[in-house]
């Protein structure tokens, strides 16, 4: 009996140890690779730096008309964002008229915002200001060189080709105007008729500017005017610093809790500490599995929940102490302790769960991260503090570690 329990205990410890190692450093098993938890969890903008903006469409459109407008806008945003080559950008509709764009890891937030929010309305105008063709006639747009000067090369659709040919025939020797977002970027002289549907914008561009303008024209114009109703940017340095300091706080906080439990409750304290390690592993694992985003308040919730997770254990152990004082054996004291503590644990956790659920429902952004962490934390702590601790405590009793003093009495 004694050896059997000891062996089971060692196996459990080995599994937990291996899991902790995997969580910290990752694991490679043949074809399969498990990423370390640090890489497996999505980090919020407040931890890795970046920018988000919420746009609101200035329109009275409703129903399917509005839907279509929003879908188109999102499509244009997506093309523009894709041209920036970012990891995991988020573009999604929020409510009726709003679109949220999140760009993690962007280095120059202002520039990125300017690029996404640009109207990008391209027009070719006659000397009298009449529209020859617009961006919707453009089928090709790329940066190129003419005499070593960067230009934007355009290709037109059939309608545009015809309009352009007619216009260049009509205005030979005069200037036509190329206007991008109400700004004249180029006013070339028409030297000859251009019948083949190609055009160039010579705007005195640098290479980067030429490719930026080209990609803006390619992405097309936004179908509706948008206002920024909410936006936030944070540098990567600030985010990484916040993460590092929170992780350090977590480490110190957790170590202090482990020490307190061990010193105050001895054997049950040790068991609670093992359960706490399982708790942290499970919470992080579930968090990664849910594909939830870790935010700064989320880390705060995790650290806070560690303090609260031992609460169930504290309730149980205090009960066990009382039962031991009544003269019960360790074994029956443990049974009675768990039994009488369970109701208080359930009642108290359900109320916190209500708070978490409400926060999740009504919170936005970082607060949601907090709520998810709180909810996951409560559910997992019920499992680890009740079942894992009970299982381990029974193993200890099975190993004939039965001295009342070791159980804090």
């Amino acid at each position: 009996m004694k050896t059997k329990n000891a062996i089971i205990f060692l196996i459990v410890i080995a599994i937990i140890g291996l899991s902790m190692f995997t969580a910290l450093f990752g694991l490679q098993l043949g074809e399969y690779q498990i990423k370390p938890i640090k890489e497996a969890i999505n980090q919020g903008l407040d931890l890795q730096g970046g920018v988000y903006v919420v746009y609101e469409a200035e329109t009275d459109a409703e129903g399917s008309e509005l839907d279509q407008m929003m879908v188109q806008t999102i499509e244009v945003f997506r093309r523009r964002v894709d041209s920036m080559g970012l990891m995991e950008p988020v573009i999604r509709r929020e409510g009726e008229k709003r679109i949220r764009v999140e760009l993690p890891g962007v280095e120059n937030a202002q520039e990125a915002l300017a690029l996404i929010g640009k109207t990008a309305q391209l027009q070719f105008l006659t000397p009298e200001g009449e529209v020859i063709l617009t961006g919707s006639n453009v089928v090709k747009s790329q940066a190129g060189f003419v005499n070593n000067v960067p230009v934007v090369e355009l290709g037109f659709d059939s309608e545009g080709t015809k309009a352009f040919a007619d216009a260049t025939a009509k205005f030979i020797g005069q200037r036509i105007f190329i206007v991008l977002d109400d700004e004249v970027v180029s006013a070339p002289n028409v030297n000859s008729i251009i019948p083949n549907g190609v055009g160039q914008i010579e705007g005195g561009f640098t290479v980067e500017e030429a490719s930026r303008v080209a990609s803006l024209i390619r992405a097309g114009a936004l179908p509706v005017n948008l206002t920024e109703v909410e936006s936030s940017s944070i540098t990567a340095t600030l985010g990484i610093n916040a993460l590092a300091r929170s992780v350090q706080a977590a480490q110190i906080g957790i170590v202090l809790v482990l020490l307190f439990m061990l010193i105050y409750y001895r054997i049950p304290g040790l068991v609670a500490n093992i359960a706490l390690c399982v708790y942290i592993l499970l919470v992080l694992g579930i968090f990664a599995g849910l594909n939830a985003t870790l935010t700064l308040p989320g880390i705060a919730a995790l650290i806070l929940s560690v303090g609260m997770a031992v609460d169930a254990n504290v309730i149980i152990f205090e009960r066990i102490k009382e039962e031991l004082k009544l003269g019960k054996t360790v074994r029956s004291a443990i049974d009675a302790g768990f039994k009488s503590a369970l109701r208080a644990i359930l009642d108290s956790n359900i109320t916190t769960l209500i708070a978490g659920a409400v926060l999740y429902q009504f919170g936005t952004g970082p607060i949601r991260g907090f709520a998810i962490m709180l909810i996951v934390g409560i559910v997992v702590s019920l499992f680890t503090a009740v079942f894992v601790t009970k299982f381990l405590l029974k193993l200890f009793v099975g190993m004939n570690i039965n001295n009342n003093k070791l159980y804090g009495a």
Partner: protein, 296 residues
């Protein structure tokens, strides 16, 4: 511990703290965050100590009522808060003025946030609504699990804790924003949690007594659960304290009220909630005794 007999002292202590908080709120005013009011926040690293007047000179061209603070360890980070919301173009323009004047190497502010007034109103209403819904939800649950007088006592203890936390916000001028809601709801959860453990004990002990000596039952129950109450608040406080000491500003703004909330929650579950329940119970007994004698 004779908690019930000394309830006047504990009630008085709480009332004094809450009164101080109220006075401070009246003196300091409520510091609403820009996510509640709408507005702009900019944090720019100036890499040097700068007089407020110089910053004011630039900002006055945009918003004369902007508040200016220097933060960070070296006080070289200027934090500008305005209630008018500037879009990213305006913010870029403001930043460029600082970049030119102080020859900054960065291309953007360290942090920059903007909330339109309509968004601010929405977030604020949602926040109030969520606190209300959570409180009602918990009240329903407790009334279902416990008798009504327990629920009433628990809710008064809860209001007590929230009042103390609000006092902390007023005294330290911590902005009331999105994290405030999270902090308040966490405290609400924690405080109820703490009270329930004591009430659960009272509920259990009530089965063993014959005479209705509620004061005795409450005293015993509190004494039986007091080491749990203290130990749990120690483990929770230790972790929050680590956050407060090591965390960045936003986390500290969150951790400080939480610490106050945990302390208040522990205090109220011992010194406020149970004495209140005894008062309610004794009152109930007196009235039912009276009705009985009158009927005879």
């Amino acid at each position: 511990m004779k908690i019930i007999e000394k309830r006047k002292i504990s009630f008085a202590i709480s009332l004094i703290i809450i009164a101080i908080g109220l006075v401070m709120t009246m003196i300091n005013g409520i510091n609403l965050g820009i996510d509640f009011t709408g507005g702009t926040l900019l944090e720019i690293d100036l890499h040097q100590a700068v007089e407020v007047v110089e910053v004011r000179e630039i900002i006055d061209q945009y918003d004369k009522s902007a508040s200016i603070n220097f933060i960070g360890e070296e006080r070289e980070l200027v934090q500008i808060r305005t209630t008018s919301d500037f879009n990213s173009e305006d913010r870029a323009e403001i930043f460029t003025k600082f970049k030119e004047k102080y020859e900054l190497p960065e291309n953007q502010p360290e942090r920059s946030q903007q909330f339109g007034p309509s968004i601010g109103k929405e977030i604020r209403n949602k926040a109030l609504l969520s606190i209300l819904i959570a409180a009602v939800g918990m009240l329903i649950y407790i009334s279902y699990r416990f008798e009504f007088r327990f629920g009433l006592a628990a809710v008064i203890a809860l209001i007590h804790d929230v009042s103390i936390v609000l006092s902390v916000y007023a005294i330290f001028r911590i902005p009331i924003n999105g994290s405030f809601v999270a902090a308040i709801l966490t405290i609400v959860g924690y405080s109820i949690n703490d009270t329930i453990v004591v009430f659960d004990r009272i509920r259990e002990n009530l089965r063993f007594i014959k005479k209705s000596n509620y004061a005795q039952v409450a005293n015993d129950s509190v004494n039986q659960t007091v080491s749990r109450s203290i130990n749990t608040s120690v483990t929770t406080l230790v972790t929050i304290a680590a956050l407060y000491v090591l965390g960045v500003q936003q986390i500290r703004d969150f951790a400080l009220p939480l610490m106050a909330g945990v302390l208040a929650g522990t205090y109220s579950s011992i010194f406020i909630a149970s004495p209140l329940w005894v008062m309610f119970k004794e009152k109930q007994n007196k009235t039912s005794y009276k009705t009985k004698t009158e009927m005879n």
